[in-house]
């Protein structure tokens, strides 16, 4: 039977590997559709990890962690909005990808460390 430590390690490893994989594919693939798909995957993971950070922050009442969690979540939403507004403009898409990647990395650090 898995205990809470096992679950913590599994969730951590899955999130870490998933994050790096979606980030790598988002930047390394050439196919624009695939890039876009991984952008949304990255943004979704970013939102999820931000929510974890927020929950941990609220649970222990760590204002800094709450603020960072909230900011990263907003950044992810902003990146998705920018991509949707920008339609097929390459500059908009590039900025959105960078924002989403930065938010995910910060959210992950905020949630775990």
């Amino acid at each position: 039977m898995l205990n809470s430590l096992d679950l913590l390690i599994i969730v951590f490893m899955t999130l870490a590997a998933g994050t790096l994989l979606s980030l790598s594919l988002m930047f390394l693939l050439r196919n624009q559709t695939a890039k876009r798909v991984f952008f949304y995957v990255t943004s979704a993971i970013g939102l999820y990890v931000s929510a974890i950070g927020l929950r941990i922050g609220i649970g222990g009442w760590f204002p800094m962690q709450i603020a960072v969690g909230g900011l990263t979540a907003l950044t992810c939403i902003g990146a998705i909005a920018l991509d949707l507004i920008g339609k097929n403009k390459a500059t908009h898409a590039r900025i959105a990808r960078l924002l989403s990647a930065a938010a995910l990395v910060i959210a992950l650090i905020n949630a775990i460390l």
Partner: protein, 343 residues
């Protein structure tokens, strides 16, 4: 070797680069998982007052390292196959391009991606596709031209053939034909037969021209105008003028010129109003020769297909001399201006 070829990267280099990137990222992930994983466990144990001895720590550390390695290895494989899969997908696109060419779809172009041997292959396929398309179009154009030539020559053959038929019919029907008339008719038949032979020769040679140099080509045109007059003077009120042509030298295919005049005569016979004047003038203007013919159109005259073909035939011949044909026509009036420039 072009600049593009010099800069072209090897596919092998790209694959090795993928391996390198995947390996480096997997290593980063492994280090991150092991380090942060250990820290998390330590934090968890501290928070929950769990004490681990050295052996237990060794055991936990081994589990973390093994799990980290497994996750990193899985990460490596997924990332590598995703990146390499993109190249494989491109190979499939190239194969589809080759299949399209094999299927006769020559306009199909393979999208150019990257800068390696696959890009070079795609460029070669696109070049092949374009060349094949060009060849096919050229072949189509040549076939169309050949068909047009056959059509116009077949039409032009009908003109002397009709004359032969008329003269032979005349010889057969008329009981009282003098010997002189017989000889004259037979001479005309012989002349028209020679004309048919010339035309069939052109047909067999695929439209080869036989240019002859004339030191004074004015005489040639004067003769053609005279023949025009003698052929039509019995039926039509003619006004033929060829005296405005200055003396000039040039190379002409007599058969072609005769075909121009024959077609003009055929059209006059078929469509001109005999009650009105038919005019023909041959004149020279600015290093070009202008043949202008006009007539009133008989009721129920053009357009007919053979009439168009006759005009097309004249147009083709004029093009051989770098010239042009301008036709002005109404329901009651027809005028054609043939300009010959390159002779």
């Amino acid at each position: 070797m072009t600049e593009n070829e010099k800069k072209r990267r090897k596919l092998l280099f790209e694959i090795l680069l993928f391996v390198g990137i995947c390996f480096a990222l997997s290593l980063v992930l492994y280090v991150f998982l092991v380090t942060v994983g250990s820290l998390l466990i330590q934090e968890y144990c501290l928070t929950n007052d769990i004490y681990l001895d050295e052996f237990e720590w060794y055991h936990v550390d081994n589990i973390i390292r093994s799990a980290g390695f497994a996750v990193s290895a899985l990460f490596f494989m997924i990332l590598f196959f995703a990146l390499f899969g993109e190249r494989l997908a491109y190979v499939r696109k190239i194969t589809a391009g080759v299949d399209a060419i094999r299927g006769g779809n020559y306009g199909n172009q393979v999208e150019l991606r990257g800068n390696n041997e696959l890009t070079e292959l795609a460029e070669a396929i696109n070049y092949l596709s374009e060349s094949e398309q060009r060849i096919k179009e050229k072949e189509k154009r040549l076939n169309a031209e050949k068909e047009e030539l056959i059509r116009t020559l077949s039409h032009d053959i009908r003109t002397p053939l009709t004359s032969i038929m008329s003269y032979t019919e005349l010889l057969c029907k008329q009981e009282t034909v003098t010997e002189a008339e017989q000889r004259a008719y037979l001479a005309l038949v012989a002349k028209k037969t020679a004309q048919i032979k010339e035309l069939t020769d052109i047909l067999l040679d695929g439209g080869r021209r036989e240019l002859e140099f004339f030191a004074d080509a004015r005489l040639l045109f004067a003769q053609l105008a005279d023949e025009f007059e003698s052929e039509l003077e019995d039926t039509f009120d003619l006004a033929v003028s060829s005296s405005e042509v200055p003396a000039f030298a040039g190379s002409f295919d007599v058969g072609e010129l005769r075909r121009i005049f024959d077609n003009l005569m055929t059209n006059i016979r078929k469509y001109a109003d005999p009650a009105e004047k038919v005019t023909l003038s041959v004149s020279g203007a600015q290093e070009s020769l202008v043949i202008r013919q006009s007539n009133a159109v008989r009721k129920g005259g053009p357009p007919a297909e053979s009439y168009r073909m006759g005009l097309n035939s004249i147009r083709r011949i004029a093009q051989n001399y770098g010239g042009e044909v301008v036709v002005t026509e109404t329901a009651a009036w027809f005028e054609i201006t043939v300009t010959l420039s390159d002779f």
